[in-house]
């Protein structure tokens, strides 16, 4: 084995470029794989991690305190199958609570539970900020880092007889067992009549099983004592739903990465075999067995591959951890985390297995090569492949470096095919990635209330010192006076009902429309006046409505018939959008809660918001930029990373091919230089060969990228049950397509640039001596 190792070590040391390319390609592949696997696994693991760490409740059960005692509920803890309990905690339903400064609060119906501390055997709460309640009038909100601004605010109830509460902290529960927590002694003051028990069961595999377990445990209680029970699987599904929209993208990128990597590895390894034929022959002639030769070639690939794989694992974990951390923050999950060991092992085995298998086949070919053929200078001639094409191209009017460059790819059809495929996939990845970027930008900008908004304080909210609240007309005039304002659209939102549908509907009411909401139209058309309504795609599907159908809107005692004229690209099953004139028929107390501000093209958003703050000083009007772009940034960084990795891998494949070609054709290059070819012409010849391949790769890869983009977005639309409007898919304009077509030759030329200069610098005398 020492002889095998000696030869391997020398080969790795002396072929630095090949070793570097292999290591880098494997590193990029491993990064892609771990990143993709990390994201895929993140659909489960962050929730599972957080749930396990917090000893989350499998079932959050609600009881009527008039029908069951604390002692009876404590008794359920010893029932068979129960592995842990917390509670009973007294609960209350809060009335509407508004912050005294008019910013934030609770809608009516939020559940608060009385807990003495955030710990306990089940549902351990993770403090995000602030502290736990020390006195009865203190409240800890359930939320994430975005809710910490609520700390210190006083919440005033809309109903008399309920005490004011001060927010002292923000905590998060893995399954969101309550909207907030107070000390248990505060619950009677909040008119609480409920009790909450949190259970963990030995068998918690499905909703049905959990229902059975809960019924069994509470079977001995008075009928009606159990008023509800929520499975942790609902929270888990909510979390996973957020990932559904990125899964197809990640899967496609992961697959592309794997395919490109395998092709480049095949190219690199088989290239190493071809260029090492004489080396193999010598080894066999002095007594290396076929198995030893195979071992040398597998090890030559294995050493840099192992190093690349380890580095890739680190990089992939860093990328995945960063992304998953952001997602966790978005979902207000308790902190957990760390790196998934099984995931890394899976990636390691996957990459090493793929490399091993990919390397083994050409290495075995090396082991089986005839030593006589390998060491005979005559027998290693490659025959006349490519010479026919060279002859034909030589007869054309093309300059010699160009015609010679164009004929080069024909000399090694197998290697050319692999290089072409790598470039094509690189162009495909660039097309797909840029398309996704455009689609997400369009989807994001059409996401309802985003952009610059002016918010009004809720009616009846306590006034902020001397600030005045202007009326509707005054506010509009004030907002129009801000430089850069193109349009001011009044907005109000309420909860209404559709006759025959039990789910309450969130209705967004606009005075007219504005460009970004108009862009969110899925099917049909936008409303043109009174009596017309646009509903979310999810609502259309779940209620089996059809465009043109008339439904009855109800608000308290008022109702009106409206016709569905279009759908909104939105998976929600309870969202409506209507014109002011339509809503006014059914909602008598319609009054603008906000104004959507459409800015003139070219207006700087930050400067505008700054100017607006000055213009509205002394009033209760708040102008804010609610970007809604968090997802977009996450998506964009994801697409950008994948696209860059894949294009870089493709360029490395080209670099490797040019290095191999140059090494093989050193003598030809020497002859060309000896008869007068300048170094610049050598560079031109090599760049032409790869540029030509790049053109073909682009012509193949770009349409495929457009096609895959179309299919993936359509599939994503069906996955999130919101459909996918055509204009979100049709993002490739002629300019973009033309730019993308350049990506193929660009990958080819960039990959070939460095080795082409090495070829140009080749010493003629040395090259002519090479056999």
């Amino acid at each position: 084995m020492s002889a095998v190792w000696a030869v391997t070590r020398a080969a790795v040391r002396r072929r630095k470029l090949q070793t570097f390319v292999i290591g880098l390609v494997i590193m990029l592949s491993s990064t892609t794989l771990v990143f993709a696997l990390g994201i895929l696994a993140a659909a489960n693991t962050p929730f599972d991690d957080a749930f396990a760490k917090a000893k989350g409740a499998h079932v959050t059960a609600a009881f009527d305190s008039t029908k069951v005692s604390d002692a009876q509920l404590r008794g359920t803890a010893s029932a068979p199958g129960v592995t842990g309990t917390a509670g009973p905690f007294p609960t209350a339903i809060l009335p509407q609570m508004d912050a005294t400064d008019g910013m934030g609060g609770f809608n009516e119906g939020a559940l608060v539970a009385g807990r003495a501390d955030p710990g306990g055997p089940v549902d351990r709460l993770s403090m995000v900020a602030g502290r736990w309640a020390h006195s009865p009038d203190e409240l800890v909100l359930n939320g994430g880092s975005n809710d910490t601004m609520m700390i210190g605010k006083r919440l005033k109830p809309a109903t008399p007889g309920v005490p004011m509460l001060t927010v002292v902290g923000v905590a998060s529960s893995a399954t969101k067992t309550a909207g907030g927590w107070v000390l248990p002694e505060e619950i009677p003051a909040l008119h609480g009549q409920g009790l909450q028990m949190l259970y963990r069961f030995a068998d918690a595999g499905s909703d049905a099983r959990l229902r059975q377990e809960l019924n069994r445990v509470t079977a001995g209680l008075q009928p009606g004592a159990l008023t509800g029970g929520e499975s942790y699987l609902i929270a888990k599904r909510d979390f996973q739903a957020g990932f559904d929209q990125i899964l197809p993208f990640v899967t496609i990128f992961g697959m592309l990465g794997a395919v490109i990597s395998v092709m480049i590895i095949v190219n690199v390894v088989s290239g190493a075999v071809v260029s090492g034929v004489r080396h193999i022959g010598v080894m066999k002639a002095i007594g290396f067995t076929p198995r030893q030769v195979t071992s040398v070639y597998v090890a030559m690939i294995g050493v840099p591959a192992a190093a690349g794989c380890l580095l890739g694992l680190v990089a992939g974990n860093l990328l995945a951890t960063t992304l998953v951390k952001r997602v966790k923050q978005d979902f207000s999950l308790p902190s957990s985390g760390g790196i998934s060991v099984p995931l890394n092992l899976l990636a390691l085995v996957g990459v090493v297995g793929a490399v091993g298998l990919t390397a083994f086949l050409p290495a075995r070919r090396a082991g089986g090569l005839s030593a006589v053929r390998a060491i005979s200078p005559v027998a290693t001639s490659r025959g006349g492949r490519g010479r026919g094409m060279q002859r034909r191209l030589a007869r054309t009017a093309l300059p010699s470096p160009v015609s010679l460059g164009l004929s080069l790819p024909f000399a090694r059809p197998g290697r050319t095919a692999l290089t072409l495929a790598a470039i094509g996939l690189g162009a495909l990845a660039a097309t797909f990635g840029l398309g996704l970027h455009s689609s997400v930008a369009k989807i994001s900008s059409s996401n309802g209330r985003s952009g610059v908004m002016a918010f009004m304080p809720p009616p009846g909210a306590a006034s902020r010192g001397p600030d005045i609240t202007p009326g509707d007309a005054q506010t509009q005039a004030l907002l129009r006076s801000i430089p850069g304002t193109a349009k001011v659209t009044a907005n109000d939102f309420h909860t209404v009902h559709i006759a025959g549908v039990s789910t309450p509907m969130d209705i967004d009411v606009y005075r007219g429309t504005y460009p970004t909401i108009a862009a969110a139209l899925g099917t049909g058309r936008w409303y043109r006046g009174a009596g017309e309504i646009v509903i979310s795609e999810g609502l259309l599907r779940t209620q089996h409505y059809k465009l043109g159908e008339t439904v009855r809107l109800q608000y308290g005692q008022h109702s009106t018939d409206v016709r569905i004229v279009g759908t909104l690209f939105n998976p929600s099953d309870h969202r409506l959008v209507a014109d002011w004139s339509t809503a006014a028929r059914v909602i008598p107390d319609l009054s603008p809660k906000a104004y959507v501000l459409t800015l003139r093209p070219g207006t700087d958003t930050a400067a505008y918001v700054h100017a607006a703050a000055k213009a509205t000083a002394g009033t209760t009007v708040d102008v804010e930029f609610s970007g809604g772009g968090g997802d977009k940034i996450v998506f964009d960084s994801l697409f950008f990373t994948f696209t860059l990795i894949l294009c870089l891998s493709a360029a490395l494949g080209v670099l490797n091919t040019v290095v191999l070609n140059t090494r093989e054709r050193a003598r030809d290059i020497g002859i060309l230089k000896s008869i007068g070819m300048t170094p610049r012409q050598v560079v031109a010849m090599v760049l032409t060969s790869m540029g030509a391949l790049g053109v073909v790769g682009g012509v193949i890869g770009v349409p495929l990228g457009v096609l895959i983009h179309h299919e993936v977005l359509t599939y994503t639309g069906s996955l999130i049950e919101a459909g996918m409007p055509h204009r979100f898919i049709a993002v490739y304009g002629l300019g973009l397509l033309a730019a993308l077509l350049v990506s193929g030759p660009l990958i080819g030329v960039l990959g070939a640039l460095l080795p082409s200069t090495w070829a140009a610098r080749l010493k003629t005398a040395t090259a002519l001596r090479s056999e």
């Binding site: 040391r13 072929r15 004489r278 080396h279 002639a285 007594g287 076929p290 005839s370 060491i375």
Partner: protein, 228 residues
Amino acid sequence: MVDEEHVVRLENVRKEYADAAALAGVSLSIRAGEAVAVMGPSGSGKSTLLNLVAGLDRPTEGSVTVLGERLEALGEGALARYRRRRIGMVFQFFNLLDDLPVLENVALSAQLVGTSKRQARTRAMELLDELGIADRARTYPGALSGGERQRVGVARALMNRPALLLADEPTGALDTKNGEQVMDLLLDLNQIGQTLLLVTHDRRLADRCATRVIELVDGRIADEMVLS
């Protein structure tokens, strides 16, 4: 059965490539201590004969027995082991491993038979010293002259003290001076009992080093001459 007197025995050996016969029924024996030179024009089958004796190729018909082993009956692994232990080969174009320095190139053969790295290097250094190129031990083959490379090739061939040394045009790529040095080297080796099988175009090499010259024409032995 081991024939102790004959190191090499070829019986009616035919070797065909596509539809052409490189060897057309050659029978030949070489005794221990002999230095046999095989001569002939290009395409006469000289290199094919050498490759068959080296176990790098297999006969289409007939048998090749070296030191009692019938080579055509051996598998690839066994042939590799045969090459390591029984023979040493010297090539016209040296066939050194460009990735390894001279010392490692020479020591590698011994390492293949299980000799420890330290012992292999010591022996390699001795050989390089004997051949007058010890000062080039750390140099890579690409930086050596043709004569130096061939001496490295001879050192490598001798590493495992082979019973049979095969040389394929050992002076073919060398200038006169370096060619002379290699001839002297082979002559010295034969004089201390090393069995040699040389393939060459070079009449001077044959006259100087060989005890017997075999002339091949069109894959057949056309003439055989014993030299004093």
